[in-house]
Symmetry: C2
Subunit: 332 residues, 2 copies
């Protein structure tokens, strides 16, 4: 059995959607057992089926807008997030899924789960939808704002293993996010990273990729420092949201237009779903001594279910040990 | 009369669209005179009306994918881009508009037009469409990849004058692109810029803005270093393009859907136009001893016409001198 800790209290719609997602996961995935960390009194009304689900009482929640995430974790060891993270460290669980505040989860994972010895920096790596239906890994979406090329190489190595083992891509290519495609473009960091990636045997380096291609990438993994990739992710989100609004506004104009809109509702809904993160699951935090999956803060049951499924998959494929093996061999 | 130099040979659809845009501008704007720099033999077939338009023969074109822009400019002084830039320096023209290669235009502007003495770094600043129909200035879109906070302050000051004089915004607010909204977020650079902007009397600092809001910004100017803002611009472009493809794919599904699509064609076209850069005009290069407007490389006549209109406006409002006045007073 794969044992997964669920932070039942983190997220915009917690605990309802988290609990529904958990029950959904148990129904669909036969080899998992879940432990919900949270407030029993708030959980019980939604837990209509406790098959392979245990509740552990927690005390307190890490707020979404937490300004000092390290202190928040340190001073709330009994919070649902802290307890579920600790349960991975002490071996009670193999993985943890949380929709809680990203920075607090990253900080908490460092303090309570611990970093892989061989990997010098963590990374947060969501999987994004693309035009051609192939998933794409974007990293680092905010764990390390400023970083050295050799640490980015470790992150790219992790993403490569993840893409192979979890996404089933045979020979995943890594692209470096840059302002031009020619080698040598970009900041000093980008130039150094390009040169380093070029000669590394464990990754398949595609070269520089401009974010003009961000939804139709020529590779499976897009990497940059934690500031830039986070900016890319948030710009995609902002553009998608803004364009959705403009589309809605323009489509409703005129009588023929209104009729067209009604006839197109089903197709438009499918369009919206294709851009939605719900079917993608969560973002894995790379570089920890355990499996930590960050589900979207706005996760509904479907999104949370997918994040649990992803956690189970990562445990089953033994991704963390496979990465450790490669990175340790590199260090030799 | 406002005299504007036109680089007739730069751009994906040059010289045809550039010439049509030029004739359009002369028809609409009574106080301009244009000089087209280019190959007479290629220009003449498209120039059906030469009212207030002169041609100056050039020799050679700076290619769009030019890898060494500085050398390209230095070794092609008779190219349409170099000649039109030089014409501003020697006083033959008040402004220049080009759809040519961005990096070559920036390099050429430095070499042939020259930097404003008081402004330490240039910036390239397009005006983008937003959901609420208000224009937004994004900078620096690629002139200086790595930059100091005090130079970004000069750029923000320039953008503020531009927003007031050209966009007619009374008290334009400046937002700093960042990964979180709280003060102190981001890299060391962002923290220093935030602190500096906060206390400057010449700009109205809004604070940090996450690009989740990039099409619905809470301010009129969004600023970051030349790498980050360029990444934001290209991510908007990539997301819009990708979403457009997904929309097209999904809308055409099913018989009712196809009918809905036909009825919605007009509205969808308007949707597409609202996201198009054609109506916005060009990006001004801030910080030069003259007015240099970069029109999109893919400009058609409409887009190029708007870029010429913008150039005339910037000359008429005397933006460069107004900025110089403020920045020089700051230096005291």
């Amino acid at each position: 059995m794969i044992k997964i800790a669920i932070d039942a209290m983190g997220g915009d719609f917690a605990p309802k959607e988290q609990i529904e997602g958990a029950m959904w996961a148990v129904r669909e995935i036969p080899d998992i057992e879940l432990t919900l960390y949270g407030d029993k009194a708030l959980i019980m009304p939604f837990l209509t089926d406790d098959t392979r689900i245990t509740i552990v009482q927690s005390d307190g929640v890490i707020e979404m807008g937490e300004k000092d995430p390290i202190r928040a974790i340190r001073s709330n060891r009994k919070s649902s997030m802290a307890m579920s993270l600790s349960s991975v460290r002490n071996g009670d669980n193999d993985a943890i899924v949380s929709s809680g505040a990203t920075q607090a989860l990253i900080a908490g994972a460092h303090i309570l789960v611990g970093r892989m010895k061989s990997m010098k920096r963590t990374a947060i790596a969501p999987v994004l939808p693309t035009v051609n239906h192939e998933p794409m890994i974007l990293l680092d979406c905010g764990a390390n704002l400023e970083i050295k090329p050799e640490f980015m190489l470790q992150q790219a190595t992790f993403a490569t293993v993840y893409a192979k083992e979890i996404l089933g891509i045979k020979n995943p290519q890594v692209g470096l996010i840059n302002i031009g495609t020619e080698p040598g473009k970009g900041r000093v960091l980008d130039q150094e990273v390009g040169a380093l990636f070029e000669k590394d045997p464990h990754i398949n380096f595609y070269g520089n990729v401009e974010p003009k291609q961000v939804l139709e990438p020529p590779c499976h993994i897009l990497i940059s420092d934690g500031f830039t990739a986070n900016i890319v992710m948030k710009t995609i989100e902002g553009t998608a949201k803004g364009m959705g609004k403009i589309l809605k506004e323009e489509m409703a104009k005129g009588i023929l237009g209104k009729l067209g809109l009604i006839l197109s509702i089903k197709n438009l809904k499918r369009f919206k779903n294709r851009m939605s993160p719900e079917v993608i699951g969560g973002a894995m935090i790379y570089g920890l001594q355990g499996v930590v999956i960050k589900a979207q803060g706005s996760s509904k049951a479907l999104g949370f279910y997918h994040a649990i499924k992803q956690a189970a998959y990562v445990v089953r494929q033994d991704v963390v040990n496979k990465v450790a093996h490669i990175i340790e061999s590199e260090g030799e």
